[in-house]
Every structure is written in C-alpha cells, then in structure tokens.
Symmetry: C2
Subunit: 338 residues, 2 copies
Amino acid sequence: MVSMKDISIACGVSVATVSKALNDHNDIGSETKKYIKKVADEMGYLPNSMAKALKTNRTYNIGVLFAEEAYSGLTHDYYAFVLDSFKNTVEEKGYDITFINSAKARSERISYLEHCRSRGFDGIAIVCADFYSPEIMQLVRGNIPTVTLDHIFNNVSAVMSNNVQGMQELLTYIYEKGHRKIAFIHGADSAVTQSRLSSFYRTAAQLGLEIPDEYISMAPYRDTAATYKETLRLLDLKDRPTCILYPDDFAAFGGINAIKEKGLRIPEDISVAGYDGIRIARHIEPTLTTLAQNTKKLGQKAGEKLISLIEHPKTTLIERIFVDGHVYEGNSVADLNA
Amino acid sequence: MVSMKDISIACGVSVATVSKALNDHNDIGSETKKYIKKVADEMGYLPNSMAKALKTNRTYNIGVLFAEEAYSGLTHDYYAFVLDSFKNTVEEKGYDITFINSAKARSERISYLEHCRSRGFDGIAIVCADFYSPEIMQLVRGNIPTVTLDHIFNNVSAVMSNNVQGMQELLTYIYEKGHRKIAFIHGADSAVTQSRLSSFYRTAAQLGLEIPDEYISMAPYRDTAATYKETLRLLDLKDRPTCILYPDDFAAFGGINAIKEKGLRIPEDISVAGYDGIRIARHIEPTLTTLAQNTKKLGQKAGEKLISLIEHPKTTLIERIFVDGHVYEGNSVADLNA
DNA sequence: TAAGAGTACGAAAACGGTTAAGTGAATTGA
DNA sequence: TCAATTCACTTAACCGTTTTCGTACTCTTA
C-alpha cells in the first residue's frame, strides 16, 4: 500500500505537507496542493483508516446491534428494511456500518459495550435487541452516541414507529368500513405492544366501540400457530367479530389459514388486517390490509439523528422521533357500508 | 480509555512487558503475567483495535458486499439468511462484519476495492451484486482473500447453492408424483438461471419427459406481475401443464394469484412449485412445495472458507463448494398417482 | 570457576497518519 | 528601510500497539 511517506518522497516534500495538502488545509500553496494530489492519485494512494482513526479518535464507523435471536433480526422484513435505509443514509455521509456482537475469538466473550469501545465506533444504533438485558443497559450507559429503534431509554435518542397513530388510523379505517365488532390479537408484552393496545382501546372508546374482553387475546409476534389457534377461538364465539386484527402481517397468515379451513371467505365472511406492511402481503390474494410502517423514514431518521449526535454532540438534543405509518389498503377488509 | 501505558505505570513495568503479558508471550514470568492481567482487568482495559490493526496489518474485519439495487439485497429472505449464518460463523472466530460500499463523504465516490483497501478488510464476501460490473471485476482482482456466493470467478473461491442438484431433485419429486406435463417459468439470464434451466432440461430428458417449447418462458426473479402474466398464458394453452415451476417462491405468488382468479384450485386443478424456501411459503395455504436452499450451510461454508483463506493463504485452495438443497414438501403439488 | 545457556524484562523503532509549533523567505506597512 | 506580517513549508511529537534486539541476571556444566 502506498502511504503518505511514499508520496512525500515522490514529491520532494514532507509528509506533513502531503497530509495537509490532501486534507485541503489552507497553509499549503495551491500549486503544491494540486501537484501532490495529482501524484497521490497517480500512485493510487488511499488513506489508511486505522492510522487516521488512531490519531483522530474518529473511525467513521457505526455499530449496529441486531438481536441474535432466531428469526427476529436480519431476517425480519421490518428490521431488514429499516437497516437498509439506515445503511444508505449513513453511508451517504461517509460512515460505514459494522455489526456489534459479543463473540471475541473462541476464548472469552466480551460485552457489547466492550466490543464497541474496542472498535472505537463513533456511534451505535440499537435496532433490535432484548432491551431489558443488563448488557443492553450497560451499552446505552456507555456514553457513546446512541439511537435506539422502537424503544425508549433515558438520555438516549429514539426513533419510534408511531404505534399510537398507526393503530388509531388502522382501527378508524376499519370502523369507517362499517365494522363494529373488531377483535384484536395483540403481540407479546413489550413497549410496542403496549402502545398499540392502549391506542386500540382509546380509539375504540372514541369511536364508541364496545370491545368485549373475549375479543382481545395474545399471540406472540410472527407465531402463526398461535394466531391460528386464537382465530379458531374467535370464530367459535357466539358473537363472532366481523374483523380480526393480528399482531403482525406474518402472524396474520396463521389466522387466514384458520379462516380458510373453516370454509370462510376473506373478506366476504370475515375481514382481517395485519400490521407491518411486509412485501409479500401485497402479492397474495386477498392482498392484506395492514398498517404499513414507514421503514424508509425510520432508518433515515435514525441515521440522521445519530450522525448529528456524533458530529454536534453539544447542540443536538436527545429526542424521540415518531414516524407515522399509513394504512395499506388491501382487500382483506370488507366494506360493510356497501 | 485506559491504554497499555496506563497499565504499565500501574504495574511498574514497561508497555512492552504489558503487551507481551496480555498476549501470552512466553518470555514473561508467570507471576508478572498474572499480575498484569489482573490489573488490566481491574482497570477495564480494552485493546485499541485500530492501533493493533495498524501495527499488525490485521483488522479482524470482513467486508461484505450487498447489492444496492432495490429489494434484492438485505431485504431478500435468501440473502438475509445467508448473511445471518455467515455473520454468526465469522463472529465466532473473532471477526467483525462491515458492509462494503462506494459512498465516501459527500464529495467523491470511491470504488469498492478502494473502500476495502482503505478499511483494511482481511477478507471480503461478495454475497449479492452485479457480478458483471467493472467495479466487481476490479474488486475480485484486488488480491484480498475473497469468497463469492452463487457466482464463479477465476481464482476466487465460491460457495454455490447447488442448482443442478436442486432442480433435478425438485423435478424428480414432481415426476414421481405422477406429473408429466411440467412447465418452467425461469428467471432472467444469469449463471444461476443457466444452471437451473440446463438441469431442468437434462433431468427431463433422463426422465423421458417431453417439454414443449411453450412450456418454457421467462419472468424476472421476484416479479409477480410477470409470473402472473406468464401463468395466464400457460393456463390458456390447449395442452395445459399439470404443474408449473416458478423462478422463486416470491414470484410464485404471482402465478398462484392468476390460478385462483381463473377459479382453479391448487393442487387439485393445477400444481405449482417454487424455489428458495422462504419462510412465508410454509405458513400459507396451500403450503408451497419448493426447493429449500440450505442458507445456513451456505453462509457457514462461505465464512469458514474465507477465514481459512485469510489465515492459511498458502495451504488453502481456491475451490467451489456446492451446497445441496432439499425439496420442501408442501401441499401445492398434487399426487397424481393416488 | 568461567563459559554458555536460559530467563525475564526493557528500550526503541515502527505502523501511517495529524497537528501544534517553528522557520526562513517574501511581502507589507509606516 | 526595517520591523512586523504573512506565506508555505518542515520538524517533531503523538495516537496505542507490536516486535526486534539488547541486557542483566541466574543457572548449568565441563
């Protein structure tokens, strides 16, 4: 690899001059600058990012934490899209993305925070993780600029999919389609679930909907077996709902299967709606009506916030950014007004 | 951050001794070693990976290239699963993963290779990219240990999903279910498509199947609109096939919609099969019969090969590793023998 | 007992950059 | 005309490691 030293020799100047020329400092003559840049270019010079980082304490590298639990990290449509958008945003600003992990060599493990410190990440994004584990707690208290997705910590900026707005909009949409008996199979307990559930109740109250307790139940996210079971239960109710909301799109398929097995048609006999807006939902019949989260904006806002936190630590305030979703109108919710 | 210097002062030894003690060199007394390690631990010492990399020319960082084209990188089930497995494999060996990109700062762009050199990646994995672009060509010729997924370059190790075996197994399975009129809508031209298509023809010949030209057509991968259209064409044929193979699972849904719209049932009236084994395919009705690629093994093999290439450059040979898939037996292919 | 062999550690250079401080020459101002 | 600036560059220290070489001991062994 050609270094500044090589260039300095080739140009007959000191390496300091080379450094300053390449970094456009203004105490270098414009002729010299041009010449040095030209030579550097011809020699195929590339800055050694390790050396630079060592000296400047800036790596231009961002750590991203993805849960290592089965099927909920990289391989989840929602997170993958958010990550993709986040990645594009920060790369545009000259930052790279490295995954945070806790596996060091075969011998000892290290904590997430230790990993980050050792790698010298300028900032970190916690996209998807067990937010209640001690390791995550340690990480967010580690004084590295941080932004979290869909979870709020003290003194840490967060980008949140607006679940309150989302659920309100979705439920209102369904209400306006004439539905009055609406069941909600919500996800396992978490901050996200809390938001959606309370928004569901509040919106229902505002709309004057009566929601019997038996219309509300729980199925873990992405668990089609659980939604299948819960759906059968709902279908067997004396007073069957006209529409069922699922924890997420993927889980909705469990319910859809149960409905089809019962010989019922969607949406003619019963309506369903998901949450997330995964791609496949728009490519099956019936297309799934769902609340599409704005993954692009989520990733983008997270990236922008984090970079701002890194580059202007004093003036950037810790805040919660809520990103609205919108109803994707498939044809899984019948229009009862018609 | 506490450095070796701090430890050396605290212990009353030189930083050389600290370095050697922490790295278990055997010219340090065992007592001293133990003591230094203890102090380092208490002080919360963490090695500065930039300094280490600068000196040793080893970053323990692997660059991964993902296409930046819409919907075909991170957000694709197949690639996401491969990446996940790859990530777990290399992290277990102490390596980190950073995305390769070509966006440097807002001003100038740099090439993939330049990015890799600048970051000092020990190795790179090209998971998903436009393999025919000049930039990729430059990258693979860059003399950094490399492994590619599903594409073969000279002098570069490749891990390949065994499309020949896969298509053979899938077609044979369908044949054994009694199907003789089998159509294949294949993907757009690429090495992968070539393998599948030629394996399709060869297997068909071996099985004594007659494949009329009108049974073969093209639809880009993941393009449901295209498969929808092609499926309608196939259904309108005088001599309609009894089973249709799709480019991939996602694209299969386009076909399935077309079939349903025609009022036909799967698999009673017509059978379909996909390729990939994406998760959702197992959670809808009818569950999709497909060739499930072994993403876990693909990622693992790629990781192992790359690390071997990095750590034993002389003795590791450039090779092509083929990973077999298996038929996932859904219920979208009718058993005509019954 | 003196030469040779270990043993346990330290000094210093090096990796490839950045940057504060210094320097000599040209330019400026009064 | 001469001190004061400004300009354009160099010197040298430093970031946190690793590693070669040297050195002062202690221990063998002939």
